[in-house]
């Protein structure tokens, strides 16, 4: 197994699939200003995915470019965390998903920008700026909704209850991570987790919501074992490339 390819694909697919989900909001946001903000996040994520995928293609050396990797893999070959493929639900669900992800991505990129792999370091450095803003935006919304009305508090708590089980998948670490960490390419996941945990604890306290006591965990994304939602995402994402193979667009 090409571990650098595998590691990079995981980073890429998180951005690709969450970017896909966020782009579903375009034209349907709760107010025009927020519609524009959500699309900005989607655009950042699609941009990150493009950079990571292009690099993954290079490291693979099989002449697959970013598009070939984005659109022409089979479902088990997508390695995004389960969290990012979860449906948008209401605006609270989307913001909670975004927050849990941003709080993970920020400490990850903060470390990855010092990676011994110069290309990954460069992508992480650029993406970190975007991610900091995403985290600011999503954490403010989680707090606003949590400490807003009784209804909004209930909805954001529900979102957390639903999504919490997918958070361990973000920190899933196997031999790929170990090898990358040994080579100084990937950061220590335990440290990333500690930062993530501090952020979520702080924000949930401000938002007056609680981490559910049910500790049921869902993992599998990094091994390509996804929820039922993933197939539908891919059906849309890949439609053109599958229906009209080998054409330029």
């Amino acid at each position: 197994m090409n571990t650098l390819f595998e590691y990079t694909i995981r980073l890429a697919d998180d951005s690709l699939i969450l970017g896909h989900r966020m782009s579903e909001w375009c034209g349907h946001g709760p107010i025009l200003e927020e519609d524009i903000a959500l699309t900005n996040i989607a655009l950042d994520l699609v941009g990150q995915a493009t950079s990571f995928l292009a690099y993954a293609g290079e490291t693979e050396g099989k002449k697959r470019d970013a598009d070939a990797l984005a659109f022409l893999r089979f479902d088990r070959e997508y390695k995004n965390a389960l969290l990012v493929e979860q449906p948008n639900g209401d605006f609270g669900m989307t913001m909670m998903r975004q927050f849990l992800f941003d709080a993970f991505r920020k400490p990850l990129f903060e470390r990855l920008q010092h990676s011994s792999d110069k290309q990954l370091a460069a992508i992480a450095e650029k993406s970190l700026k975007e991610t900091k803003y995403h985290l600011k935006h999503s954490s403010e919304w989680v707090i606003r909704l949590g400490d807003g009305t009784e209804e909004s508090n209930g909805r954001i708590q529900d979102a957390l209850n639903t999504l919490w089980r997918y958070t361990p998948d973000l920190f899933y670490a196997d031999e790929v991570d170990q090898e990358m960490q040994q080579q100084g390419i990937a950061p220590d996941m335990a440290a990333v987790y500690a930062d993530w945990n501090a952020t979520v604890q702080h924000v949930f306290q401000e938002a007056t919501i609680e981490i559910p006591s049910n500790n049921w965990k869902q993992t599998g994304g990094r091994k390509g074992l996804h929820s039922e939602h993933m197939g539908h995402i891919l059906a849309e994402l890949q439609y053109m490339q599958r229906a009209y193979p080998n054409m330029e667009w």
Partner: protein, 315 residues
């Protein structure tokens, strides 16, 4: 304050317009001028916002990452443009939420073109090339509109829109020069969007009830037919260049005038779509209404939170 009579105010107002002095929000203006502007700018804003939907329909299915990013950015711009325009109506005293509710109730109109479905990827090309092309023709003269905030919003809109038409034409060019399936897809999109694009300029001058007054007030600088002709004249050669056929058997170039004459527009179809009987009228307005309704609790929560924090701060 001295009590001017309205006739005197109106005379001075028209004098300013004639001298190309812009009207600003707090200036005196005839009520009809205000109402005409509110109607026109809000229709324009609604068109931008409803216009997000047919293109938004293809974002998750864009054929590659570059096209996906471009389409996202373009649809996002439309949200921005809608917002600039709602801002302009707010300077005239029209509250945004009320304006939007008028769209949802069917009282306010928007450009009929967005009531046609986008059934293939090529429609993204056709919309950018034809619909944005037609929109630009309408919009460029509005940058010199007599009402300051509208003119300024339009300057911004036109600057940002310059890439919209190009990206659409690029899609069409790629398809037209591609495989037979792609070329057929492009021709089919042109066939479906050509006539509705011509309708975008509105009824013939003889039928257009607002034109004369709007020209006098410099809200409008050209008539519907003038703009439509200009659009046909620039677009036909573009289609020829990429090897697509305009679906009009009566289309003829007149070497004497340098202009194209074109076939009769199906005005029955136009009025039916305006009345709400187009293929997607209901879906479009329903989607916008749903977005507003689903966002109600979010907007309420944000207000409640802001009030709580303000209280905390002052305590």
């Amino acid at each position: 304050m001295k009590d001017f009579d309205t006739a005197e105010l109106e005379r001075k107002f028209q004098e300013k317009i004639d001298k190309d002095i812009k009207i600003e929000p707090k200036d005196w203006m005839p009520d009809d001028y205000r109402q005409t502007l509110i109607r026109q700018i809000s229709q324009h804003a609604h068109s931008e916002i409803v216009g997000m939907l047919p293109e938004g329909n293809w974002i998750t299915r864009a054929p590659n990452l570059r096209r996906k990013a471009v389409l996202l950015a373009k649809v996002q711009d439309e949200a921005g443009h809608g917002l600039y325009l709602y801002s302009a109506t707010e300077t005239l005293g029209a509250d945004r939420e009320q304006t939007i509710d008028d769209l949802h109730s069917g009282k306010a109109k928007y450009s009929s073109i967005f009531n046609y479905p986008t059934v293939s990827w090529a429609d993204m090309g056709a919309i950018g090339w034809l619909v944005d092309g037609a929109a630009i023709m309408n919009q460029v003269p509005l940058c010199r509109c007599s009402y300051g905030p509208y003119a300024r919003a339009m300057v911004r809109v036109c600057k940002e829109e310059s890439f919209h038409q190009r990206q659409g034409f690029e899609i069409m060019m790629q398809l037209a020069g591609g495989t037979p399936e792609q070329k057929a897809m492009a021709q089919d999109a042109l066939n479906r969007f050509w006539w509705p694009s011509l309708m975008m300029f509105g009824p013939n001058d003889a039928e257009s009830k607002h034109t004369a007054q709007s020209v006098k007030w410099k809200i409008k600088r050209h008539t519907n037919d003038e703009l439509r002709q200009q659009f046909v004249d620039v677009t036909v050669p573009q289609a020829e260049m990429i090897g697509l056929t305009i679906p009009d058997k009566d289309l003829k170039f007149n070497a004497e005038t340098g202009k194209y004459s074109y076939g009769e527009i199906d005005w029955t179809e136009f009025w039916e779509v305006v009345k709400g009987n187009g293929p997607c009228n209901k879906e479009r307005v329903d989607a916008r209404r749903k977005a507003k309704e689903n966002g109600e609790w979010v907007r309420e929560a944000a207000n409640a939170f802001a009030q709580k924090r303000a209280l905390k701060k002052s305590a």
